[in-house]
Symmetry: C2
């Protein structure tokens, strides 16, 4: 939908500014006038594109959710690899994890529209996991929803622990984070082992 | 320190009101005048007890952290049981999980004082886990910090997922949550098996 017209680029600037503002301050704490200023436009223009602050947040977080899905691509036959990609994504972009967590804290389940992208993504992924169980690539005793939540929790272990790396000397930080990543992947591997290693017929 | 004098009960009411206010709105979103009103006192009295909103938050969250530790009691020889207790605590008191998460989001590591209770608790617990490894009750290949974070992440899987239970009919919710709890405990058991079952000499 993006084009080089002035209208679209204003909208793009609003979305970029809103992403930064929501990530830093959350929904209640975000200020539309700050977003407008950062996007070099007016409050009125912001409300012309998005009817409310909450609608703007939902747009921005839905867009981010799609970006996360694109960058991390769940492979139900290789959950340890998926966990490693989530870990990498959020340690590289901690502000994007913050963006999503604010929504969890500030928006109740009753506010979520039927077509809420978080809910849709979860439904799609649990279906993928169920198929993987049926194909014999994932232990069938787990409820797919538990698998999804557990993998996600383990994979985001380090996304919001800035104080735990703050004490590590800079020149040791790469090794330190590599060890943390290895533990995340090892934990998921022990719970939900990669099917590929066991199933030689898969590419 | 609590007594029946008027001064102390005002302070207690402030702490109770602040706990509810921070849990609902976070730190930036909390309003000292709302806290004062709920505590039937004045803004000036609140600032007489706590110099700033952040100091009040740190007091409240430190107190909550102690309450969590008291209610869940980490037993390094029985991490699945510990995870179950954390799960129970936060599904019974989701607002207390919110209270802690706001601090993670809003307070940077540089703000944390040396005697930060979160940091102190983590240091104490990693030492307990290290001793448990030395005593042969916990696999020594894990870094104790990873064990602590992984157990905590798994145990809090359901603390902030209101939208996932919202769709479950009321009469099925108890069974539904029992299944979620069982998955949490099973995951920790698979990663860090209870030493007691293996070590008959322990009580």
């Amino acid at each position: 939908m993006t084009s080089q017209t002035g209208a679209d680029s204003t909208r793009d600037r609003i979305v970029t500014a809103a992403t930064a503002e929501f990530s830093r301050h959350g929904i209640a704490g975000a200020r539309i006038d700050r977003i407008a200023k950062a996007a070099r436009t007016s409050k009125e223009r912001v409300y012309a594109y998005f009817r409310s602050k909450e609608e703007l947040y939902r747009f921005v977080s839905g867009r981010e959710l799609a970006a996360i899905a694109e960058a991390t691509r769940m492979d139900p036959a290789d959950l340890p690899g998926y966990a490693g990609r989530i870990h990498d994504y959020f340690t590289a972009h901690p502000e994007r994890h913050r963006l999503m967590i604010w929504g969890q804290l500030e928006l109740g389940p009753d506010d979520a529209p039927e077509d809420d992208p978080v809910r849709q993504t979860m439904t799609h992924k649990t279906e993928q996991l169920r198929s993987s169980q049926e194909a014999g690539h994932l232990e069938p005793s787990w409820d797919p929803l538990d698998v999804l939540i557990l993998v996600n929790q383990i994979a985001t272990s380090w996304a919001n622990q800035p104080d735990l790396t703050a004490g590590v000397p800079l020149h040791e930080r790469a090794d330190y984070m590599a060890a943390r990543r290895a533990a995340v992947v090892a934990a998921v591997q022990r719970l939900f082992p990669t099917a590929r290693a066991q199933a030689g017929e898969r590419r």
